[in-house]
Amino acid sequence: MHLTDEQLNEYLDEATNERAQIEAHLSSCDECAARLSTLQNVFAELDSLPEVALTRNLAAPFTPRPSLPAQLPKFLTLTVTLQAAVALTAIIIAAPFIAQLIPVLELSSLSSVFIQLQTQWASWLDTLSQFQMPTLPTIPFELSSIYLMSAVVGVFMLWLVGNGLLLRNQIK
């Protein structure tokens, strides 16, 4: 019994577990040895095929746009600075109202400072709310100014946190 084509192929592909039997047969059978060598020649021919050079650069469509990387960080830092300033302002505006809204916490020394600030801001807000009053005469103005400011502060904080997260991803 001669070796099958499958056996010879699997032998050369090192995908057989009958290596020993195949080798034993090959050593005693010229015909199968010749068939193996023909097959080995094909392997050698395929191996001999040289690599061919490209005539164009396939990386060309993937070049970075040169102006963008230099501009982007500057733009980002400007945004960050602006947002920090706005956030700080928001916190200053918010502080007295937070102190007023949660007197239960009894931050005696701090809250006295806050209350001082609050009176200053409240007087400013009085003028501000008086400015808006004519359109909404039925709502008590002190309550409305608190709600207004809380809403403004809330939006500022959301804006800060949201943009902060976005920018952190980009910088990283």
């Binding site: 192929n9 020649n41 040289p50 490209l54 990386a59 469509p61 970075p64």
Partner: protein, 179 residues
């Protein structure tokens, strides 16, 4: 930056850094082009397909498993794309007279090598498309029978019968007394 790993470049490419992907292309373009050339046997077509491979890979870079090696992956993608290309064409690009430099001007030794690889290319281009791809995956990308079966989504028995038949055809074409 001068010796970023493939992995680093893929991470950058995923963040939209086209230049980083360009660096990967520079590393693998000859490799990928040769995969296409061995399957298609036509230089211009092989370059077009190789370009297509990289464009597709860039568009799908988010789906690439970062734990895998980029080189073997992109070469398998190339083999598959060429197979799809050939099958969609349905016209077997039979033996293109591919003579890009005129051989008379070359030294004799170079000419011989060139002629022999020409013969190998011609023999290979006479094979059906899926035989060529199996030869590519086994001989040049060194995939096992099982890996080829998975890659081409065909039964293991088909991988073997196609591969063995392809080699038989090549043996007949290449070792026939004067082709």
């Amino acid at each position: 930056m001068n010796a970023s790993s493939d992995r680093d470049l893929i991470v950058l490419a995923r963040r939209g850094d086209a230049g980083a992907f360009g660096e990967l292309v520079t590393r693998y373009q000859v490799n990928v082009f040769n995969v296409c050339y061995r399957i298609l046997h036509e230089r211009g077509e092989a370059e077009d397909l190789a370009q297509e491979v990289f464009i597709r890979a860039y568009n799908r870079i988010h789906t690439f498993d970062i734990e895998r090696e980029f080189g073997p992956w992109i070469r398998r993608v190339a083999a598959n794309l060429c197979l799809n290309h050939l099958e969609s064409q349905k016209v077997t690009t039979e033996i293109n007279d591919e003579q890009d430099a005129d051989p008379a001007q070359l030294p004799e030794a170079v000419q011989e090598v060139r002629e022999r690889s020409e013969q190998i290319h011609q023999a290979m281009s006479s094979l059906p498309a899926h035989y060529r791809v199996i030869i590519e995956l086994r001989h040049y990308q060194e995939l096992t029978y099982d890996e080829i079966a998975v890659e081409l989504n065909i039964p293991l028995s088909d991988v073997k019968s196609h591969l063995f038949r392809a080699r038989k055809i090549l043996a007949e074409k290449l070792h026939a007394p004067d082709r």
